[in-house]
């Protein structure tokens, strides 16, 4: 499933369709934000009241589902956004709104590569062990869920910036 967003981006660029490119950017960015909001606002409340074995069971199913799709959506939302800004003549690095978007994107990317990805891999490896450490899996899963909540805040900010760029 994670391969669909970049393939859609390739199709949009190959067809030279600004409308399709805009669609790919909005659907990927919106879905990525939706995932993070759901994880941060809903899953945190659910997991907080579960015991460690139950959290491990959730993690076993949640981690493989989100491992490819979220980085794929994030990468395509950012890449298509840059192409879109270039095609609309808005990719001006002296524009404070573009710079602000760049700063938020750097923060989101650093969190993705620095925390989400290694944590996801460590959860996979722990689950593959003969005697998985349930407490460690639960801790890493909760860390990812809490980080998703902080990503959601940054994404609300970037949507504010995008709304400004779309109008002005």
């Amino acid at each position: 499933m994670g391969i669909i967003p970049p393939v859609a981006l390739v199709a949009a660029l190959a067809l030279k369709s600004l409308y399709f490119l805009d669609y790919v950017h909005v659907i990927c960015g919106g879905t990525w934000t939706g995932f993070d909001l759901y994880m941060g606002l809903v899953m945190t409340r659910i997991l907080r009241f579960l015991d460690v074995p139950a959290r491990v069971e959730v993690s076993k199913r949640l981690t493989p589902t989100t491992f490819f799709i979220i980085p794929s959506l994030a990468a395509v939302a950012i890449t298509s956004g840059i192409y879109l800004a270039q095609q609309l003549g808005k990719f001006n690095l002296s524009d404070p709104w573009i710079l602000a978007a760049g700063v938020v994107v750097i923060v989101l990317t650093a969190q993705g590569f620095g925390v989400f990805l290694p944590n996801g891999l460590r959860i996979f490896l722990e689950l593959a062990k003969a005697r998985p450490d349930g407490a460690l899996i639960a801790k890493l899963t909760m860390r990812n869920i809490h980080l998703a909540a902080s990503q959601a805040v940054f994404q609300v900010v970037i949507i504010l910036i995008m709304a400004h760029l779309a109008i002005y």
Binding site: V10, P71, S72, T79, K129
Partner: protein, 65 residues
């Protein structure tokens, strides 16, 4: 060809490889201690392959703009 887009993809792919390399090193240590079976390494390789596939498709976009 969009050179800056291609460079960005290589930069992100490099970061990805560093993260995978770091986790892979930990996994091989766990394997040496007998805590982890070949299954863990196999999962890591599939994970890496999946992410590399996403970056390869993204790199193609640099040639379309």
């Amino acid at each position: 060809m969009n050179t800056s887009a291609l460079l960005a993809v290589f930069l992100f792919a490099g970061a990805l490889l560093i993260v995978f390399g770091w986790v892979y090193r930990g996994a091989t240590k766990s394997m040496a201690k007998g805590e982890l079976s070949n299954e863990g390494i196999r999962i890591l390789r599939w994970g890496l392959l999946g992410h590399v596939a996403i970056f390869v498709v993204l790199a193609i976009t640099a040639f379309l703009t």
